[in-house]
Amino acid sequence: MSEHHHDHGHDHEHDDRPGPHGAPLTDVQLRVRALESLLVDKGLVDPKALDALIDTYETKVGPRNGARVVAKAWVDPAFKQRLLADSTTAIAELGYIGRQGEDMVVLENTPKVHNVVVCTLCSCYPWPVLGLPPVWYKSGPYRARTVIDPRGVLREFGVDLTDDVEVRVWDSTAELRYLVLPERPAGTEGMTEDELAELVTRDSMIGVTKVSSPRR
Protein backbone atom coordinates (compact mmCIF):
# COMPACT_ATOMS: atom_id res chain seq x y z
CA MET A 1 0.00 0.00 0.00
CA SER A 2 3.03 2.26 -0.09
CA GLU A 3 1.96 4.13 -3.20
CA HIS A 4 -1.10 5.34 -1.32
CA HIS A 5 0.82 6.64 1.62
CA HIS A 6 1.57 9.88 -0.07
CA ASP A 7 1.27 13.05 1.90
CA HIS A 8 -1.21 15.12 -0.02
CA GLY A 9 -3.94 16.61 2.08
CA HIS A 10 -2.17 15.97 5.35
CA ASP A 11 -0.58 18.88 7.00
CA HIS A 12 1.37 18.18 10.09
CA GLU A 13 0.28 21.02 12.28
CA HIS A 14 -1.20 18.80 14.92
CA ASP A 15 -1.72 21.33 17.65
CA ASP A 16 -3.52 24.62 17.69
CA ARG A 17 -2.56 25.86 21.10
CA PRO A 18 -0.85 29.23 20.91
CA GLY A 19 2.69 28.55 19.84
CA PRO A 20 5.85 30.28 18.71
CA HIS A 21 4.63 30.36 15.11
CA GLY A 22 2.01 32.93 16.13
CA ALA A 23 -0.52 31.77 13.57
CA PRO A 24 -3.98 33.25 14.07
CA LEU A 25 -6.71 30.98 15.37
CA THR A 26 -9.12 29.73 12.74
CA ASP A 27 -12.88 30.21 12.96
CA VAL A 28 -13.49 26.70 14.20
CA GLN A 29 -10.80 26.97 16.87
CA LEU A 30 -12.33 30.21 18.13
CA ARG A 31 -15.83 28.78 18.02
CA VAL A 32 -14.92 25.68 20.02
CA ARG A 33 -13.11 27.76 22.66
CA ALA A 34 -16.10 30.05 22.94
CA LEU A 35 -18.51 27.12 23.18
CA GLU A 36 -16.46 25.45 25.90
CA SER A 37 -16.40 28.72 27.90
CA LEU A 38 -20.13 29.09 27.47
CA LEU A 39 -20.82 25.56 28.71
CA VAL A 40 -18.45 25.96 31.65
CA ASP A 41 -20.11 29.25 32.60
CA LYS A 42 -23.51 27.59 32.41
CA GLY A 43 -22.37 24.87 34.75
CA LEU A 44 -22.86 22.14 32.13
CA VAL A 45 -19.26 21.06 31.66
CA ASP A 46 -16.24 20.58 33.90
CA PRO A 47 -13.00 21.21 31.96
CA LYS A 48 -11.11 18.71 34.14
CA ALA A 49 -13.51 15.99 33.03
CA LEU A 50 -12.86 16.96 29.41
CA ASP A 51 -9.11 16.61 29.98
CA ALA A 52 -9.53 13.21 31.64
CA LEU A 53 -11.81 11.95 28.89
CA ILE A 54 -9.39 13.06 26.18
CA ASP A 55 -6.51 11.40 27.99
CA THR A 56 -8.44 8.13 28.19
CA TYR A 57 -9.11 7.93 24.45
CA GLU A 58 -5.74 9.32 23.45
CA THR A 59 -3.52 7.15 25.63
CA LYS A 60 -5.42 4.25 27.22
CA VAL A 61 -7.82 2.90 24.60
CA GLY A 62 -6.51 1.85 21.22
CA PRO A 63 -5.82 -0.94 18.74
CA ARG A 64 -3.26 -2.62 21.01
CA ASN A 65 -6.29 -3.88 22.93
CA GLY A 66 -7.74 -5.51 19.83
CA ALA A 67 -4.33 -6.98 19.01
CA ARG A 68 -4.32 -8.74 22.40
CA VAL A 69 -7.70 -10.27 21.57
CA VAL A 70 -6.49 -11.50 18.17
CA ALA A 71 -3.21 -12.91 19.50
CA LYS A 72 -5.00 -14.78 22.25
CA ALA A 73 -7.45 -16.25 19.74
CA TRP A 74 -4.50 -17.44 17.63
CA VAL A 75 -2.82 -19.33 20.48
CA ASP A 76 -5.81 -20.44 22.57
CA PRO A 77 -8.41 -22.49 20.64
CA ALA A 78 -10.86 -22.51 23.54
CA PHE A 79 -10.73 -18.71 23.73
CA LYS A 80 -11.20 -18.47 19.98
CA GLN A 81 -14.28 -20.65 20.23
CA ARG A 82 -15.73 -18.44 22.99
CA LEU A 83 -14.77 -15.33 21.03
CA LEU A 84 -16.70 -16.41 17.96
CA ALA A 85 -19.68 -17.72 19.95
CA ASP A 86 -20.10 -14.77 22.34
CA SER A 87 -17.70 -12.02 21.35
CA THR A 88 -18.71 -9.45 23.97
CA THR A 89 -18.18 -11.82 26.89
CA ALA A 90 -14.91 -13.22 25.58
CA ILE A 91 -13.47 -9.74 24.94
CA ALA A 92 -14.56 -8.71 28.43
CA GLU A 93 -12.37 -11.51 29.81
CA LEU A 94 -9.43 -9.31 28.81
CA GLY A 95 -11.05 -6.27 30.42
CA TYR A 96 -12.03 -4.50 27.22
CA ILE A 97 -15.52 -3.18 27.85
CA GLY A 98 -17.28 0.13 27.58
CA ARG A 99 -18.72 2.70 25.23
CA GLN A 100 -19.12 1.57 21.63
CA GLY A 101 -18.18 -1.97 22.56
CA GLU A 102 -21.27 -3.04 24.46
CA ASP A 103 -22.32 -5.58 21.81
CA MET A 104 -19.40 -7.03 19.90
CA VAL A 105 -19.33 -9.43 16.95
CA VAL A 106 -16.03 -11.00 15.84
CA LEU A 107 -15.74 -12.06 12.19
CA GLU A 108 -13.16 -14.68 11.27
CA ASN A 109 -11.19 -14.25 8.06
CA THR A 110 -10.16 -17.46 6.32
CA PRO A 111 -8.42 -18.25 3.02
CA LYS A 112 -11.87 -18.37 1.39
CA VAL A 113 -13.79 -15.63 3.22
CA HIS A 114 -12.59 -12.06 3.71
CA ASN A 115 -14.59 -9.81 6.03
CA VAL A 116 -14.29 -6.02 6.00
CA VAL A 117 -16.14 -3.51 8.20
CA VAL A 118 -17.56 -0.09 7.31
CA CYS A 119 -20.13 2.35 8.62
CA THR A 120 -21.74 4.02 5.62
CA LEU A 121 -24.06 6.21 7.71
CA CYS A 122 -21.64 7.65 10.24
CA SER A 123 -18.55 6.28 11.97
CA CYS A 124 -19.54 3.29 14.13
CA TYR A 125 -16.39 1.56 15.34
CA PRO A 126 -15.48 -0.70 18.29
CA TRP A 127 -13.79 1.81 20.61
CA PRO A 128 -12.73 -0.48 23.50
CA VAL A 129 -10.68 -2.71 21.18
CA LEU A 130 -9.61 -0.31 18.40
CA GLY A 131 -9.82 3.17 19.95
CA LEU A 132 -11.27 6.06 17.98
CA PRO A 133 -11.47 5.54 14.20
CA PRO A 134 -8.90 6.98 11.80
CA VAL A 135 -9.95 9.81 9.49
CA TRP A 136 -10.09 7.61 6.38
CA TYR A 137 -12.63 5.30 8.06
CA LYS A 138 -14.94 8.27 8.68
CA SER A 139 -14.42 9.88 5.27
CA GLY A 140 -16.48 9.89 2.07
CA PRO A 141 -14.33 7.61 -0.09
CA TYR A 142 -14.31 4.68 2.32
CA ARG A 143 -17.96 5.01 3.37
CA ALA A 144 -19.19 5.43 -0.21
CA ARG A 145 -17.10 2.81 -1.95
CA THR A 146 -16.62 -0.13 0.40
CA VAL A 147 -20.16 -1.46 -0.10
CA ILE A 148 -20.20 -1.10 -3.90
CA ASP A 149 -16.56 -1.79 -4.75
CA PRO A 150 -15.01 -3.69 -1.85
CA ARG A 151 -12.31 -5.35 -3.97
CA GLY A 152 -11.24 -1.98 -5.38
CA VAL A 153 -10.94 -0.51 -1.89
CA LEU A 154 -9.01 -3.55 -0.67
CA ARG A 155 -6.63 -3.28 -3.62
CA GLU A 156 -5.82 0.28 -2.56
CA PHE A 157 -4.79 -1.15 0.81
CA GLY A 158 -2.60 -3.70 -0.95
CA VAL A 159 -4.94 -6.70 -0.68
CA ASP A 160 -5.62 -8.27 -4.07
CA LEU A 161 -8.10 -11.09 -3.56
CA THR A 162 -8.57 -13.83 -6.11
CA ASP A 163 -12.01 -14.50 -7.56
CA ASP A 164 -12.56 -17.61 -5.48
CA VAL A 165 -12.44 -15.62 -2.24
CA GLU A 166 -15.79 -14.42 -0.98
CA VAL A 167 -15.85 -10.81 0.24
CA ARG A 168 -18.25 -9.99 3.05
CA VAL A 169 -18.76 -6.31 3.81
CA TRP A 170 -20.36 -5.53 7.17
CA ASP A 171 -22.14 -2.18 7.29
CA SER A 172 -22.41 -1.18 10.97
CA THR A 173 -25.91 0.25 10.74
CA ALA A 174 -27.06 -0.70 14.27
CA GLU A 175 -25.39 -0.96 17.69
CA LEU A 176 -23.37 -4.10 16.97
CA ARG A 177 -19.67 -3.38 16.71
CA TYR A 178 -17.54 -5.59 14.50
CA LEU A 179 -13.96 -6.74 14.91
CA VAL A 180 -12.24 -8.82 12.24
CA LEU A 181 -10.13 -11.76 13.39
CA PRO A 182 -7.45 -11.79 10.70
CA GLU A 183 -5.69 -14.95 9.53
CA ARG A 184 -2.56 -15.87 11.44
CA PRO A 185 0.28 -15.36 8.97
CA ALA A 186 2.75 -18.03 7.95
CA GLY A 187 6.11 -18.04 9.70
CA THR A 188 4.69 -17.35 13.15
CA GLU A 189 4.83 -20.89 14.49
CA GLY A 190 6.36 -20.89 17.95
CA MET A 191 5.86 -17.17 18.53
CA THR A 192 4.50 -16.14 21.90
CA GLU A 193 1.19 -14.39 22.39
CA ASP A 194 3.01 -11.12 23.11
CA GLU A 195 5.10 -11.42 19.96
CA LEU A 196 2.01 -12.20 17.89
CA ALA A 197 0.15 -9.19 19.31
CA GLU A 198 2.98 -6.98 18.03
CA LEU A 199 2.25 -8.17 14.48
CA VAL A 200 -1.45 -7.37 14.52
CA THR A 201 -2.35 -4.04 12.95
CA ARG A 202 -5.43 -1.88 13.38
CA ASP A 203 -6.20 -2.10 9.67
CA SER A 204 -6.18 -5.91 9.74
CA MET A 205 -8.86 -5.81 12.44
CA ILE A 206 -11.03 -3.52 10.31
CA GLY A 207 -10.46 -5.99 7.50
CA VAL A 208 -8.76 -3.73 4.96
CA THR A 209 -5.41 -5.49 5.25
CA LYS A 210 -4.00 -8.87 6.20
CA VAL A 211 -1.41 -9.46 8.89
CA SER A 212 2.02 -9.78 7.32
CA SER A 213 4.49 -12.51 8.14
CA PRO A 214 7.31 -11.34 10.41
CA ARG A 215 10.43 -10.05 8.69
CA ARG A 216 13.31 -12.47 8.92
Binding site: R31, L35, L38, L44, V45, A49, W136, R143
Partner: protein, 224 residues
Protein backbone atom coordinates in the same frame (compact mmCIF):
# COMPACT_ATOMS: atom_id res chain seq x y z
CA UNK B 1 -33.87 11.13 6.38
CA UNK B 2 -32.35 11.01 2.93
CA UNK B 3 -29.38 13.05 4.12
CA UNK B 4 -25.88 13.49 2.81
CA UNK B 5 -24.64 11.25 5.64
CA UNK B 6 -26.03 8.22 3.76
CA UNK B 7 -23.02 7.77 1.49
CA UNK B 8 -23.04 4.05 0.66
CA UNK B 9 -22.69 3.39 -3.07
CA UNK B 10 -21.91 6.94 -4.21
CA UNK B 11 -19.29 7.57 -6.86
CA UNK B 12 -16.80 10.37 -7.30
CA UNK B 13 -15.09 10.51 -3.92
CA UNK B 14 -11.70 9.36 -5.21
CA UNK B 15 -9.30 7.01 -3.45
CA UNK B 16 -9.23 6.20 0.25
CA UNK B 17 -6.38 8.22 1.70
CA UNK B 18 -4.87 6.64 4.81
CA UNK B 19 -2.38 8.71 6.79
CA UNK B 20 0.65 6.83 8.11
CA UNK B 21 1.05 6.99 11.90
CA UNK B 22 -2.10 9.03 12.22
CA UNK B 23 -2.56 10.68 15.63
CA UNK B 24 -5.83 10.16 17.52
CA UNK B 25 -6.58 13.86 17.13
CA UNK B 26 -5.01 16.30 14.69
CA UNK B 27 -5.90 19.52 16.48
CA UNK B 28 -6.63 20.52 20.02
CA UNK B 29 -10.10 21.76 19.05
CA UNK B 30 -10.95 18.24 17.86
CA UNK B 31 -10.10 16.91 21.33
CA UNK B 32 -12.36 19.51 22.91
CA UNK B 33 -15.28 18.85 20.52
CA UNK B 34 -15.03 15.11 21.14
CA UNK B 35 -15.02 15.55 24.91
CA UNK B 36 -17.70 18.27 24.92
CA UNK B 37 -19.98 15.94 22.97
CA UNK B 38 -19.38 13.02 25.29
CA UNK B 39 -19.77 14.88 28.58
CA UNK B 40 -22.77 16.88 27.36
CA UNK B 41 -24.36 13.64 26.21
CA UNK B 42 -23.79 12.09 29.64
CA UNK B 43 -26.11 14.75 31.10
CA UNK B 44 -28.91 12.58 29.74
CA UNK B 45 -30.91 15.19 27.82
CA UNK B 46 -30.55 13.31 24.54
CA UNK B 47 -29.68 9.82 23.35
CA UNK B 48 -27.26 8.45 20.71
CA UNK B 49 -29.92 8.35 18.02
CA UNK B 50 -30.88 11.99 18.65
CA UNK B 51 -27.18 12.78 18.39
CA UNK B 52 -26.88 11.10 15.01
CA UNK B 53 -30.09 12.68 13.75
CA UNK B 54 -28.83 16.13 14.75
CA UNK B 55 -25.65 15.66 12.71
CA UNK B 56 -27.69 14.39 9.75
CA UNK B 57 -29.33 17.81 9.52
CA UNK B 58 -26.13 19.51 8.45
CA UNK B 59 -26.77 20.95 4.94
CA UNK B 60 -25.23 18.62 2.33
CA UNK B 61 -22.79 21.12 0.82
CA UNK B 62 -21.55 22.07 4.29
CA UNK B 63 -21.25 18.43 5.37
CA UNK B 64 -19.01 17.58 2.44
CA UNK B 65 -16.87 20.70 2.86
CA UNK B 66 -16.14 20.15 6.55
CA UNK B 67 -14.30 17.59 8.64
CA UNK B 68 -15.65 14.96 10.98
CA UNK B 69 -15.42 16.89 14.24
CA UNK B 70 -17.04 19.89 12.59
CA UNK B 71 -20.05 17.61 12.03
CA UNK B 72 -19.96 16.82 15.73
CA UNK B 73 -19.74 20.51 16.60
CA UNK B 74 -22.76 21.25 14.42
CA UNK B 75 -24.77 18.44 16.03
CA UNK B 76 -23.79 19.47 19.55
CA UNK B 77 -24.79 23.11 19.07
CA UNK B 78 -28.10 22.01 17.56
CA UNK B 79 -28.89 19.65 20.45
CA UNK B 80 -27.88 22.13 23.17
CA UNK B 81 -30.51 24.54 21.86
CA UNK B 82 -33.12 21.93 20.91
CA UNK B 83 -32.99 20.31 24.35
CA UNK B 84 -33.05 23.59 26.21
CA UNK B 85 -29.58 23.59 27.75
CA UNK B 86 -28.51 26.76 25.94
CA UNK B 87 -30.69 29.45 24.38
CA UNK B 88 -30.39 30.58 20.78
CA UNK B 89 -29.24 34.01 21.92
CA UNK B 90 -26.65 32.55 24.29
CA UNK B 91 -25.24 30.46 21.45
CA UNK B 92 -25.25 33.44 19.07
CA UNK B 93 -23.42 35.64 21.59
CA UNK B 94 -21.41 32.74 23.09
CA UNK B 95 -22.20 34.30 26.46
CA UNK B 96 -24.06 32.73 29.38
CA UNK B 97 -27.10 34.52 30.79
CA UNK B 98 -27.34 32.22 33.81
CA UNK B 99 -26.37 28.80 35.05
CA UNK B 100 -28.40 25.78 33.97
CA UNK B 101 -30.89 24.72 36.62
CA UNK B 102 -31.04 21.23 38.05
CA UNK B 103 -27.96 19.89 36.27
CA UNK B 104 -24.54 19.08 37.62
CA UNK B 105 -21.61 18.82 35.19
CA UNK B 106 -20.00 15.43 34.71
CA UNK B 107 -16.91 15.38 36.90
CA UNK B 108 -13.68 13.40 36.66
CA UNK B 109 -15.04 11.08 39.37
CA UNK B 110 -18.10 10.27 37.25
CA UNK B 111 -16.15 9.21 34.18
CA UNK B 112 -15.09 5.64 35.06
CA UNK B 113 -18.70 4.60 35.53
CA UNK B 114 -19.78 6.42 32.37
CA UNK B 115 -17.05 4.88 30.26
CA UNK B 116 -17.30 1.32 31.60
CA UNK B 117 -20.74 1.05 30.08
CA UNK B 118 -21.95 -2.54 29.65
CA UNK B 119 -25.38 -1.99 28.20
CA UNK B 120 -26.37 0.52 25.57
CA UNK B 121 -29.11 -0.28 23.10
CA UNK B 122 -29.76 -3.95 23.92
CA UNK B 123 -33.10 -4.72 25.57
CA UNK B 124 -34.52 -7.81 27.26
CA UNK B 125 -35.19 -10.71 24.90
CA UNK B 126 -38.63 -11.21 26.41
CA UNK B 127 -39.83 -7.84 25.16
CA UNK B 128 -40.31 -8.98 21.57
CA UNK B 129 -40.71 -12.32 19.81
CA UNK B 130 -38.67 -12.62 16.60
CA UNK B 131 -40.63 -12.62 13.36
CA UNK B 132 -37.69 -14.01 11.38
CA UNK B 133 -34.96 -16.60 11.86
CA UNK B 134 -31.63 -17.33 10.20
CA UNK B 135 -32.14 -18.45 6.60
CA UNK B 136 -35.42 -16.57 6.06
CA UNK B 137 -35.68 -14.47 2.94
CA UNK B 138 -36.76 -10.90 3.56
CA UNK B 139 -37.29 -7.74 1.58
CA UNK B 140 -36.38 -4.37 3.04
CA UNK B 141 -39.10 -1.80 2.86
CA UNK B 142 -38.96 0.95 0.28
CA UNK B 143 -39.35 3.82 2.72
CA UNK B 144 -38.00 7.36 2.77
CA UNK B 145 -38.82 8.79 6.18
CA UNK B 146 -37.88 12.40 6.93
CA UNK B 147 -37.05 11.28 10.46
CA UNK B 148 -34.05 9.22 11.58
CA UNK B 149 -33.57 5.72 10.22
CA UNK B 150 -30.68 3.27 10.07
CA UNK B 151 -31.79 1.63 6.84
CA UNK B 152 -29.40 3.03 4.22
CA UNK B 153 -30.82 4.01 0.83
CA UNK B 154 -28.77 1.45 -1.09
CA UNK B 155 -30.45 -1.35 0.88
CA UNK B 156 -34.09 -0.30 0.51
CA UNK B 157 -36.51 -2.51 -1.43
CA UNK B 158 -33.89 -5.27 -1.67
CA UNK B 159 -34.14 -9.00 -1.03
CA UNK B 160 -31.71 -10.61 1.38
CA UNK B 161 -31.37 -13.55 3.73
CA UNK B 162 -31.33 -13.36 7.53
CA UNK B 163 -27.80 -14.32 8.57
CA UNK B 164 -28.37 -14.09 12.32
CA UNK B 165 -30.67 -12.60 14.91
CA UNK B 166 -28.65 -10.24 17.12
CA UNK B 167 -31.45 -10.03 19.70
CA UNK B 168 -33.69 -7.19 20.85
CA UNK B 169 -32.51 -3.59 20.58
CA UNK B 170 -33.95 -0.11 20.86
CA UNK B 171 -35.50 0.91 17.53
CA UNK B 172 -33.45 3.99 16.58
CA UNK B 173 -36.17 5.61 14.47
CA UNK B 174 -38.58 6.16 17.39
CA UNK B 175 -35.75 6.70 19.88
CA UNK B 176 -34.50 9.66 17.85
CA UNK B 177 -38.00 11.10 17.48
CA UNK B 178 -39.40 10.82 21.01
CA UNK B 179 -36.87 9.04 23.19
CA UNK B 180 -39.23 6.08 23.59
CA UNK B 181 -37.45 2.73 23.73
CA UNK B 182 -39.40 0.52 21.32
CA UNK B 183 -38.01 -3.04 21.39
CA UNK B 184 -37.21 -4.58 18.01
CA UNK B 185 -35.24 -7.59 16.90
CA UNK B 186 -32.15 -6.60 14.98
CA UNK B 187 -30.89 -8.96 12.29
CA UNK B 188 -27.77 -9.17 10.19
CA UNK B 189 -29.21 -9.47 6.68
CA UNK B 190 -27.04 -10.72 3.87
CA UNK B 191 -27.52 -9.07 0.47
CA UNK B 192 -25.72 -10.40 -2.56
CA UNK B 193 -23.74 -7.74 -4.39
CA UNK B 194 -25.78 -8.22 -7.56
CA UNK B 195 -29.07 -7.69 -5.70
CA UNK B 196 -27.78 -4.31 -4.52
CA UNK B 197 -25.71 -3.15 -7.46
CA UNK B 198 -26.75 -5.13 -10.52
CA UNK B 199 -24.78 -7.35 -12.88
CA UNK B 200 -21.49 -5.44 -12.54
CA UNK B 201 -21.09 -6.45 -8.90
CA UNK B 202 -18.67 -9.25 -8.11
CA UNK B 203 -20.38 -12.67 -7.97
CA UNK B 204 -18.76 -13.43 -4.62
CA UNK B 205 -19.38 -10.08 -2.97
CA UNK B 206 -22.00 -9.74 -0.25
CA UNK B 207 -22.99 -6.87 2.03
CA UNK B 208 -24.37 -7.51 5.50
CA UNK B 209 -26.63 -4.79 6.88
CA UNK B 210 -27.97 -4.78 10.44
CA UNK B 211 -31.71 -4.32 9.97
CA UNK B 212 -34.35 -3.72 12.62
CA UNK B 213 -37.44 -5.90 12.24
CA UNK B 214 -39.81 -3.07 11.23
CA UNK B 215 -37.55 -2.48 8.19
CA UNK B 216 -38.27 -5.99 6.87
CA UNK B 217 -41.10 -7.83 5.12
CA UNK B 218 -41.22 -11.59 4.54
CA UNK B 219 -40.58 -12.85 1.02
CA UNK B 220 -43.02 -15.66 0.35
CA UNK B 221 -43.08 -18.23 -2.39
CA UNK B 222 -39.73 -17.37 -3.94
CA UNK B 223 -37.89 -20.36 -2.50
CA UNK B 224 -34.40 -20.18 -1.13
Amino acid sequence: MNGIHDLGGMHGFGPVDPEPNEPVFHYDWERRVFALNMTSGFLGRWNTDMGRYAREHMPPAEYLATTYYEHWLYGLERLLVEKGLVTTSELAAMRSTGRAQGLKPIGVEDLPKMLRNRRAARMDEQLAAPRFKAGDRVRTKNVHPTGHTRLPRYARGKVGVIDRDHGVFILPDEHARTGTKVPAHCYAVRFEGRELWGPDAGPRDAVFVDCFEPYLSPVDGEGV
